[in-house]
Structure formats: structure tokens, C-alpha cells
């Protein structure tokens, strides 16, 4: 009889043990790789996530900046890490959905090598022009942008970046002739739009807003389908003259494939909870981001649909890059 009882106990324990163990995640510090340079909006978002997770779990979440190559370096590091769920990474439209179409020799497959956990925030992008450009809406901009002499130039943070893709989509949808002047990073490009060296740019609304409020830039529209809460009076580009235009960058948290299901659920729950707390919402609003949240499956679906969406954009724009 005793043996039977012991056996039952063992069986029960064995069944419950994995769940018990997982519930203790994390038992050691967690790495959160931010594949972008420190100080940028993406980095700040990552640090916010890390901070909130640390508070919830009591275990430190250590931020590792591994910037470069459009966010692919850091993501590759995450994909190569052990599959125990202790290495997370910030994945965004750039390194998850655009990179596969842009770079043939990309060293990871965002659909197979990555376990999406949760989509954290949407980063509204907007179209801004130098105030000397006589256009207030996309409708007014298009004829000016079609000029062959005295053409308009647009800046981007590099060929293949979200800012260049947004512009190329605009170009192909409106059939205009704007000239691409790539920069190394958003800041120098935006600086040159402000100073008038170049005419327009698609960039983070958060970066454009301070200049727009002082009249040094004119914001024409946000690139998504819905207006941004940060600047409600700004129409979408679609509303203001280019229907169907839609570019919505976002950032979420991922880990490598094969991570334990229970870990994924736990991280998702923790971040989802953080996204409801007032101070996080406030910080996000200050940055101009919009919280997203959702389940891992929803995130996976978003990734998948965006990959095909940007594949079309890249192809239509004829952008060829190589890694």
C-alpha cells in the first residue's frame, strides 16, 4: 500500500514539477537584447520594458545594446542564444518583417527561428516637409513631387530603413519622382530637412513633433491607418490625399524558437500587465508610442502579414540590398 502511495506521489510530483519549475521563471537574470543604439526611441522602449519586468519578477532584466545593421545583429544574437527563454530581444518591423525581403542572405528566418512573445508598441511615423515646400496635404504635395526639374529630395536613415520604405511606398503609390538622399541615422537626416538641405522625410512622429510645433517642419500626415493620439489634429497620409497608404512600424519582444511555452506565456502576461499600468502608459505617450499588447499568436500573425506586405513594397520600389 505504501509503495502504491509513494508511486502515486512520485507520479503526481513528476506531472506537476515542470509546471512548478516554470512558474519560478525567471530564476536567474534575463537578457533583453536591444538591437539598436543606446539613446534612441527603440532603446528607451526596451529599457522601459526591462525595467517593468525587473519590478514584476524581482530578477534583474539586463539590457544589452547590440545595435547595427538595421537591428539584424542583435536579433541574430538572440536567435543563436540558448532556447531556455532567458534571452529576449526587441524585434521591430525593421529586423523582423523588412529584413527578409531586403537581404537575401539574412542569417535568420523570422518565421521559423523566432518565437514571438508580445507586440509592445506601435511607433507612429509621419511625413514632414521643410516649411518652404508649399504643400499642406499629401494632395498638394503630389504635383510638386512629380516635378522633374526642381525636384524634391527625401531623406532617410539609410537604404532599406523604415523611413526609406515609407517614402518609396509613397513614391510608387503616387507615381512621383522624389529623389532619395540616405543618411546614417534619422537624426542627421531630420536635421537636414529642418535646415532645408533636403525637402521631406518620413520619420518617427516623436522626433518630428517638437519641430512641427515650432514651425520648423510641417507635418503632413501620419503614415498609419489611424490618427495618432500624440497629435490628433494631424490627418493620416491616406486621409490627406493618398488613400490606401499604410505603414505602421511596431516593436515587440521575441525570443528564439523552441523556448518553453510556459515561459512565453509568462513573459507575455507580465508585459501585458505592464502595458496597462498608468505610468507606463504615460511614458509611452510622452514618447509618442501607442501600446499594443495581445497574444503571441496575434503577434505571430502580424509578423507574417507584415512580411508579405513589405515584400511587396520592397519589390515595387525596386530596392535591392544585400547583407
Amino acid at each position: 500500500m505504501r509503495i502504491v502511495l509513494q508511486a502515486v506521489m512520485v507520479v503526481v510530483l513528476a506531472a506537476v514539477w515542470p509546471a512548478l519549475a516554470q512558474q519560478q521563471y525567471p530564476v536567474k537574470p534575463v537578457r533583453l537584447i536591444v538591437p539598436f543604439a543606446p539613446g534612441g526611441p527603440n532603446d528607451i522602449l526596451g529599457r522601459l520594458v526591462g525595467q517593468k519586468l525587473t519590478e514584476q519578477w524581482g530578477q534583474p532584466v539586463i539590457i544589452e545594446n547590440r545595435g547595427g545593421a538595421g537591428g539584424t545583429i542583435g536579433l541574430e544574437a538572440a536567435v543563436r542564444s540558448p532556447k531556455d527563454g532567458y534571452t529576449l530581444a526587441m524585434g521591430g518591423t525593421s529586423n523582423l518583417t523588412v529584413a527578409p525581403s531586403l537581404y537575401e542572405k539574412l542569417t535568420y528566418d523570422p518565421l521559423k527561428d523566432v518565437t514571438p512573445i508580445i507586440n509592445v508598441a506601435a511607433v507612429p511615423y509621419a511625413l514632414a516637409v521643410n516649411p518652404t515646400v508649399p504643400a499642406k496635404t499629401a494632395r498638394e504635395l503630389i504635383p510638386i513631387a512629380s516635378r522633374k526639374t526642381g525636384y524634391l529630395s527625401y531623406g532617410s536613415s539609410g537604404m532599406g530603413s523604415m523611413s526609406s520604405l515609407a517614402a518609396e511606398l509613397f513614391k510608387s503609390m503616387s507615381k512621383t519622382q522624389i529623389v532619395h538622399v540616405p543618411y546614417k541615422g534619422t537624426a542627421p537626416a531630420l536635421t537636414d530637412v529642418v535646415s532645408g538641405q533636403i525637402d521631406l522625410m518620413f520619420a518617427d512622429l516623436a522626433l518630428i513633433k517638437p519641430f512641427a510645433e515650432r514651425g520648423r517642419l510641417r507635418a503632413i500626415g501620419v503614415t498609419g491607418l489611424k490618427r495618432s493620439v500624440a497629435m490628433k489634429e494631424l490627418p493620416t497620409v491616406a486621409e490627406s490625399g493618398l488613400p490606401g497608404y499604410d505603414i505602421e512600424p511596431w516593436f515587440g519582444v521575441i525570443t528564439t524558437e523552441g523556448a518553453p511555452r510556459a515561459v512565453v506565456t509568462r513573459v507575455n502576461a507580465a508585459i501585458a500587465a505592464a502595458l496597462k499600468s498608468p505610468d507606463v502608459l504615460q511614458r509611452l505617450a510622452a514618447l509618442g508610442y501607442e501600446p499594443l499588447g495581445g497574444t503571441p499568436e496575434q503577434f505571430a500573425a502580424t509578423i507574417k502579414s507584415d512580411i508579405s506586405k513589405y515584400a511587396t513594397v520592397v519589390k515595387a520600389a525596386g530596392i535591392k540590398a544585400e547583407l
Binding site: 529630395s153 540616405p182 543618411y183 546614417k184 540590398a321
Partner: protein
């Protein structure tokens, strides 16, 4: 003028609050420590402290971060002079004459002059910032890709003045550096060049691992195996202090370096790294005994050190006056301000006078703090040289490894450092100068990008350069510089081969 003075007094009242002072001090110390570590530079220090500033009030945040920035510039020169390891990119030129002075037992004066020069340059820079911020900022905005191209071309031609050895070999090294700069993603086309499939090379080879490897590691490789280890130095107190002659020789370079550095610094973009290179070239060109350069000329320390401090101060001008980041460091500092809900921009000075003037005042304070910190520490640092080399070099190697690793948490940087160490060792054996490699690496990508951007803007017309007055002026200066450089080759009757110096291996 009175108004400025009043604002400044108000700024000082902000800056002298005990809490602000304390954080400034704290920032300076951390900055010096970070700057002394090979590899970690101001950017690393600031990024590390950034999260800590979220909870502080914005004035303190920015004071802390700029203290780190300044401190790192001061600290970077210490390792450059003592061990020939550039603390960060801007200290590369200091390695050359600074270390030569150390080898001659004159590390003390070198460190002291570096500190003094930095102090004077920083103070002059802050005065410039204070008086001229809005005007200069508007001037800076007129720099676009064509102007950058011209500026960087000028910087490239400084090469011709940088070394006394063979012009041909200097050129070879410059081209080598330029080629190294080609590695990585080409922003214009999206192609990744010369990365051999290694993702980490996608962002190019950083100047920091290359500089640390080329200068520092190669030095260790050359010295560690020598039959007679370098003599332990036991400098007397008198030897720690710069002589009157040192001070006299350094005065003009410091002033010139400050002016030059400040002007380069206010231009948005990372061009302020080249301020120390240009200053070195200028000092060498203006000196009556240029052959002393490379062998311990104090001007070769005074000029570059002043230039890079002045450039660091100048970098704040567009940041504060216009809200425009001039490079990764100021971008991080802007982020630090923005997190507190303050929107930087042209109205910052009017809307947030506390912030601006408090910041300016704290920069004065910071410069003084750093001078006070660094001068007495000269003795301490020079005592480091008393450690027998056998103990010193393993620790230095370990420091270099951890320093380079810390920059991006990437062993790739360490590999690059080690590889460049070997390359530097071999190059020195064959009589090649190393400084042009660093210059080429820094300038190359920027120059190529600006040129192609200018051409994109103009639709392929080179005439854009002629239509822009600032660019034209700088191109003319560049042409004049080039002509002056090759003049000796053409006009002096000497055997031109020996003039080009192909016989003797050049010292590096």
C-alpha cells in the same frame, strides 16, 4: 552683454547648488574612469548612465551626463600618453607624441599640459557657447552634404602634414584606412560591403578597436618580448611639472587648437573626431622644427588635446540652440532631456533658461573640477609606470580586451582589436606610420557618404559644389593646403627621393 552676464550669474546660482555640484563631480569622476578604460569612451559612459537619469530632474541629468562626457575626454588622454592606448577615438593623435614623451621620462609634463590644454579649451569653448550659441547654430545649419564633403576633404589633406616620413608610405596607410572604412553596410545603396558574411561586420569596423589594436596592442607586442624590459621610471617631483619652456611652447597650440576644435565641433555630424587630427597637422606645419613631431614634441599633445575638448564643447551648440544632435553622444543627451518632457529646440534657451544657463555654468564648474582632479593625479598616474613592465602589460592587455568588448558587447570588436594589433606590429616593422590609418578609417565613410549625398541632391551634377559659397571656400582652402604640402617635393632642389624619405623607415 549685461543680460548675458545676469543670465550667467543665474546659471551659476543653479550650478552651485550642492546637489548639482555633487552630480557634476560624480559625473566627472565616472567619466574620467570610463575614459581611461581603453575602448569605453564618452558614448559608452553616457549610455550606461542614461537609465539612471530618468529619475533625476533634467538639470541634474544633463549636468551628470555632460560631466561624464568631459571626464571621458580628459581620461582618454591619460592612457594615450602613458601607455599609447587611445582611450577613445579623439585621443589617437595624443598617443603619438604623448607616449614618446613618456618614453623620454616626461610623462608628467605631457599629462599636465594635456589637462591644462583641455581646461583652457573647455573654458574658451564654454565662453563661445555662451556668447554665440544662436548665431553659430544658424551657421551650422548651413552645412549640408556638399559642405561636409569639402570639410572632410580638407581633413583628408591634413594627412600630408601629419608625418615626417615617406609621403608615399603615409599615403599608403591612409588608403588602407579608407579601405577599412568601406567595410559594412553602404547606407546609400543598402549593399553590405566586404563583410565576408559576418553579420557583426555589417556596421563596419569601429575606430575604437582599430585604434586600440593598432597603437596599444602593437606597442605591447613590440615591447613585451624585448630582451631588456623598459626601464621602470622613477620620476622626481621636479620632472612631473612642465617646464617654463613647455608652457611657452604649448600656449599657441592650445589657443589654435581651441579655436579650431570649437569651429569643427559646432558642425553637426561626427566630424569632431577629426579636430585632433587637423590640429596635429596644423601644429606640425606651423612649427619651426617639424622633425620633432613624432618624437615627443609637446605641441603634438597640447594642440590635439585642446582641439578635442573644444570640439566636445562646440558639439553642444547645435544641441542646445536648435535641439539638433551633433552625433551619438549629443543624441543620447537630447534623449535624456526629452524623457523629462522637455522638448529641445530653438526655444530652449528662452523657455528653459534654468536648464541652459545652469548647464553652461556647470560646464565651467566641470572644467575646473576636472583640472583640479587631474593635475594632482598626474603624480599618481605616473607612478603607475613604476610597476614593472612584466606585471603591467598583462593587465593592460586584459583591460584592452574588456574595454573593447564593453563597447558593443561583442567579441567581434575584440577580434578586430587583436587583428589590428598584429597588423600594427608588422606595419611598424616595415616602417609605416599608423596614424593615417586611423584618420582614413574615420574620414573615409563620412567623406564617401557626403559626396554621394551631394551628388544625389544635385542629380549627379558636380557643379553643386560651385554653387555653395561655404563649400567653395573650403575647397579652395583644401586645394591650397594640398599645394603647400607638395611644394617641397617640387621646388626644393634636394634629391626628391630622400625628401619623400623612402630610405629611412619612419618612426611611428
Amino acid at each position: 552683454m549685461i543680460e548675458t552676464f545676469n543670465s550667467l550669474m543665474m546659471g551659476f546660482s543653479v550650478a552651485f547648488q550642492p546637489q548639482v555640484l555633487m552630480y557634476a563631480f560624480f559625473g566627472c569622476i565616472i567619466g574620467t574612469l570610463v575614459g581611461m578604460m581603453p575602448g569605453l569612451g564618452p558614448l559608452a559612459g553616457i549610455s550606461l548612465l542614461l537609465p539612471a537619469t530618468f529619475g533625476l530632474n533634467p538639470i541634474i541629468a544633463i549636468v551628470l551626463l555632460s560631466g561624464v562626457y568631459y571626464g571621458a575626454m580628459y581620461g582618454g588622454s591619460t592612457t594615450s600618453i602613458l601607455m599609447r592606448i587611445p582611450g577613445e577615438a579623439a585621443s589617437v593623435m595624443t598617443c603619438v607624441d604623448g607616449y614618446a614623451m613618456t618614453q623620454q621620462g616626461r610623462a608628467g609634463p605631457a599629462l599636465a599640459i594635456a589637462a591644462i590644454g583641455s581646461f583652457v579649451a573647455g573654458t574658451l569653448g564654454v565662453i563661445g557657447l555662451m556668447l554665440l550659441a544662436p548665431t553659430l547654430a544658424d551657421f551650422a545649419l548651413r552645412f549640408g552634404p556638399p559642405e561636409y564633403t569639402a570639410l572632410l576633404l580638407m581633413g583628408l589633406f591634413v594627412l600630408a602634414y601629419m608625418s615626417g616620413g615617406s609621403m608615399l608610405k603615409t599615403l599608403a596607410m591612409a588608403v588602407f584606412g579608407l579601405l577599412l572604412g568601406m567595410i559594412g553596410i553602404d547606407v546609400m545603396s543598402g549593399y553590405t560591403r566586404f563583410s565576408f558574411g559576418i553579420t557583426e561586420l555589417g556596421d563596419g569596423v569601429g575606430i575604437v578597436p582599430v585604434a586600440v589594436g593598432l597603437f596599444g596592442i602593437s606597442e605591447i607586442l613590440m615591447t613585451a618580448g624585448q630582451a631588456d624590459p623598459p626601464k621602470v621610471q622613477q620620476p622626481s617631483l621636479r620632472q612631473l611639472i612642465p617646464t617654463a619652456g613647455d608652457l611657452r611652447h604649448s600656449a599657441a597650440p592650445i589657443l589654435r587648437g581651441s579655436l579650431l576644435g570649437f569651429m569643427i565641433g559646432i558642425i553637426p555630424g561626427s566630424a569632431h573626431i577629426i579636430s585632433s587630427f587637423v590640429s596635429y597637422g596644423m601644429e606640425r606645419r606651423l612649427s619651426k622644427n617639424p622633425e620633432r613631431f613624432g618624437h615627443g614634441a609637446i605641441e603634438g599633445v597640447a594642440g590635439p588635446e585642446s582641439a578635442n575638448n573644444a570640439a566636445a564643447t562646440g558639439a553642444f551648440v547645435p544641441m542646445l540652440a536648435l535641439g539638433i544632435p551633433t552625433g551619438p553622444v549629443t543624441a543620447v543627451m537630447l534623449a535624456a532631456i526629452m524623457v523629462h518632457g522637455i522638448l529641445p529646440g530653438p526655444m530652449l534657451i528662452q523657455q528653459q533658461p534654468d536648464l541652459f544657463w545652469g548647464f553652461v555654468a556647470s560646464m565651467y564648474v566641470g572644467n575646473v573640477v576636472l583640472l583640479v582632479l587631474n593635475l594632482p593625479m598626474v603624480g599618481l598616474f605616473v607612478n603607475l609606470l613604476r610597476i614593472p613592465y612584466a606585471y603591467l602589460y598583462p593587465c593592460i592587455l586584459a583591460f584592452c580586451i574588456v574595454g573593447c568588448y564593453s563597447v558593443s558587447n561583442n567579441t567581434m570588436d575584440v577580434w578586430i582589436m587583436l587583428a589590428m594589433g598584429v597588423v600594427g606590429y608588422v606595419l611598424r616593422k616595415f616602417g609605416f606610420d599608423l596614424a593615417p590609418v586611423a584618420l582614413g578609417l574615420v574620414l573615409g565613410p563620412m567623406l564617401e557618404l557626403s559626396l554621394r549625398q551631394a551628388l544625389a541632391m544635385s542629380g549627379g551634377e558636380y557643379s553643386i559644389f560651385l554653387h555653395r559659397p561655404i563649400a567653395v571656400t573650403m575647397l579652395v582652402i583644401a586645394a591650397v593646403m594640398l599645394l603647400f604640402a607638395i611644394k617641397p617635393l617640387i621646388f626644393k632642389g634636394k634629391d626628391w627621393r630622400s625628401k619623400v624619405g623612402l630610405d629611412e623607415p619612419a618612426d611611428s
